[in-house]
């Protein structure tokens, strides 16, 4: 089936070359980091995680969001999702590849990374995160591939893909829950120390994942003969709508608790994000942009006339996706680490080189996504034609 990926139009090859160039730039920037250490990043003693872990956290969410097409199709026999289920699964694969790459580029000693397997440590949440992330990646590759292959050969998928699909559902919930547990189990970080973190992560994931999927459906319609189906996209947009409202509601709960209780160790982080602290307010415009983007997006999806507007829907989805990215990637890291445990205020901004490395990872993810989607759409075209 992989041979499909090496037959494409001029545009396809141009896109592949562009992605390879981005990956190459990232690799060169990373080679320098590998040799000289994480000194090239904007991270510090006080803000010890940065852009890499921020993007990791967000992409775990997008990966988990794939389950929003799997559940309706496999558990509720929702036929309209039949054509896009594979897109959700392959999106999860590409996102997980990026997640793992972001972890690797964040490590100070990447060549020792297998120590996590050599000295398995169940009391560390990172150990469980490794298991669920790799497990979910494996499940999606196997299921996606097998089902697509069966479709190509016009036969029923082999029987054991079904139990794997069912297994992938708790895994999807699991990857984001465990990723939230990385943060919310730490006693000294007031911003993260909240039981609603995992639910909030899931809500924003179920908004950002399907929102991105809708955008991808538009791109697929433009560049291939495969039509994912307008009805399916409309249902997806309703899922995004509910999920982004849930995310905003959870955020409001968070704001109420920290401001009404007024406990400084919790409040100071939110204060830093929303209004700035001791004259440091780098995050303020970002956070308000995120809230406005997500809020407006929710309104656009709530009103049926706006939701069903074919020209507006991709814009709305991009707003929600970008808003969720600021909220969960930038906000989660900056809010958690500023102020520091000693209440010093040291802000963080990624360096250019850090950005190029991150861009390289995104390039690699899009490369995987492009190839997998090329396979999926070509097979679907073949079968239909």
């Amino acid at each position: 089936m992989l041979e499909i990926a090496i037959q494409g139009s001029k545009k396809y090859w141009l896109w592949i070359v562009l992605l390879l160039a981005v990956m190459g730039a990232g690799a060169i920037a990373y080679a320098d980091q590998f040799l000289n250490g994480l000194q090239i990043t904007g991270m510090s003693r006080d803000v010890s995680w940065g852009f890499y872990i921020a993007n990791f956290t967000f992409l775990v969410g997008v990966a988990a969001g794939g389950v929003m097409v799997v559940i309706p199709y496999y558990l509720h026999d929702y036929e309209r999702f039949h054509r896009i289920t594979i897109l959700g699964e392959f999106l999860a694969v590409a996102c997980l590849v990026m997640c793992l790459l972001f972890i690797v580029v964040d490590l100070g000693q990447p060549i020792r990374m297998l120590n996590v397997l050599l000295y398995p440590t169940p009391h560390s949440m990172l150990f469980w995160d490794m298991i669920v992330l790799n497990g979910y990646l494996f499940l999606n590759i196997v299921v996606g591939w097998k089902v697509l292959e069966a479709e190509r050969n016009q036969i029923e998928p082999v029987w054991w893909t079904k139990p794997l699909v069912y297994l992938s559902i708790p895994f999807a919930i699991g990857i984001h829950t465990v990723t939230a547990y990385l943060y919310c189990g730490l006693p000294g970080r007031g911003f993260w120390l909240t039981a609603i973190l995992a639910p909030r992560f899931l809500a924003s994931a179920f908004a950002a994942g399907p929102a991105f999927l809708i955008i991808l459906c538009y791109i697929i319609r433009k560049f291939t003969k495969f039509d994912p189906g307008w009805e399916a996209m409309q249902t997806l947009s309703k899922i995004v709508c509910y999920a982004i409202i849930a995310n905003l509601f959870f955020f409001a709960c968070e704001v109420f608790v920290v401001y009404y209780s007024g406990i400084p160790g919790h409040l100071s982080h939110m204060q830093y994000l929303l209004f700035g602290l001791h004259g440091h307010n780098m995050m303020v415009p970002w956070m308000w942009s995120a809230l406005i983007l997500m809020g407006l997006g929710a309104i656009f999806l709530l009103i049926p006339k706006l939701r069903n507007n074919r020209a507006l829907l991709p814009v709305t989805c991009a707003m929600i996706f970008f808003g969720a990215w600021i909220d969960k990637a930038l906000g989660m890291i900056a809010g958690g680490f500023v102020p520091s445990p000693l209440h010093h205020v040291n802000e963080y901004a990624p360096t250019l080189q850090e950005g190029i490395i991150a861009l390289g990872v995104y390039g690699a993810g899009l490369f995987v996504l492009t190839i997998l989607y090329k396979l999926a759409t070509t097979v679907k075209e073949e079968v239909r034609g």
Partner: protein, 274 residues
């Protein structure tokens, strides 16, 4: 082919057999008339032991000079890099300028409201505003860093000291996120150009690993007091928290002491007499 490989196998096996036969002879030649060539391990009688090591810092005995002496004694002997120095241009050519906030410190001074952010008080006694409060790893009874570490590179020893294995650490910095006291450092770069004089008694670190105070475990093993205690002119006492007869317990019984962020339940082993 088959025959050849069998023959060469036999050849190797034969040589190996000679080797095995030779081993005892070699050992005989190597050993002393009354001893064996085996490495010998024996307990150092002078090693200091404790059920749980702890520290008491008498803040009123500290002043700026003593604090500087303590920091220097600790950092010099543990090869902690000093990023304010200019590296040897010949030996370390092309060393890049150091970014703000990527420093490394094992023990340092903070103002009261940073050392004890949960005890901030607008009517705090005047003298506390300027007093230097020494902060370091608390060697917690329930260390969140040890819980977070995915490779057990940081671990709690039976005697309560929280240690680092610099060779196992993968540099994920989960422990730094977990520590409620900001006591952990990451080697964002190779620290060696910034060590003025390397102390051969302690390993230098490589880039990409986390490090922190080790309560001078290497000195306790030799029966010596930690560097900070020696340099503190009596302001710091280290001893066994579980021994009611110890000096540290006497101090705790006689003085009102506080610990950093007690409400988190990490049970820090560093006490402050204020």
């Amino acid at each position: 082919m088959m025959i050849k490989s069998r023959r060469s196998f036999l050849k190797v096996a034969g040589i190996a057999a000679i080797g095995m036969g030779a081993a005892p002879v070699m050992n005989l030649a190597a050993s002393e008339p009354h001893g064996s060539a085996q490495p010998k391990t024996e307990k150092n009688e002078e090693t200091l032991h404790a059920e749980r090591w702890g520290m008491v810092i008498n803040t009123s005995k500290l002043n700026e000079e003593v604090v500087e002496a303590i920091k220097e004694a600790c950092h010099k002997s543990h090869n902690v890099p000093d990023f304010t120095i200019e590296p040897d241009a010949e030996k370390y050519s092309g060393t890049r300028p150091v970014r703000d906030g990527q420093e490394i410190k094992w023990i340092w001074d903070e103002h009261f409201h940073y050392a004890f952010p949960d005890k901030e008080d607008e009517f705090l006694a005047e003298k506390f505003h300027d007093l230097p409060f020494l902060v370091t790893c608390n060697h917690c009874k329930n260390p969140p860093c040890v819980q977070a570490c995915p490779t057990q590179a940081t671990f709690k020893r039976e005697d309560g000291i929280v240690l680092m294995d610099y060779h196992r650490c993968i540099g994920c910095r989960f422990c730094m996120a977990a520590c409620p006291y900001g006591s952990r450092n990451f080697n964002f770069r190779d620290p060696r150009p910034f060590i003025e004089e390397t102390d051969p008694d302690f390993p230098t670190r490589t880039k990409g690993v986390v490090e922190k105070c080790n309560l001078c475990a290497e000195r306790l093993a030799k029966g010596e007091q930690p560097h900070c205690v020696e340099a503190s002119e009596g302001a710091i006492v280290v001893g066994d928290l579980e021994d009611p007869e110890s000096e540290i317990r006497t101090l705790l019984a006689e003085h009102y002491t506080i610990r950093r962020k007690q409400s988190l339940g990490t049970e820090p082993s560093v006490y402050y007499i204020v």
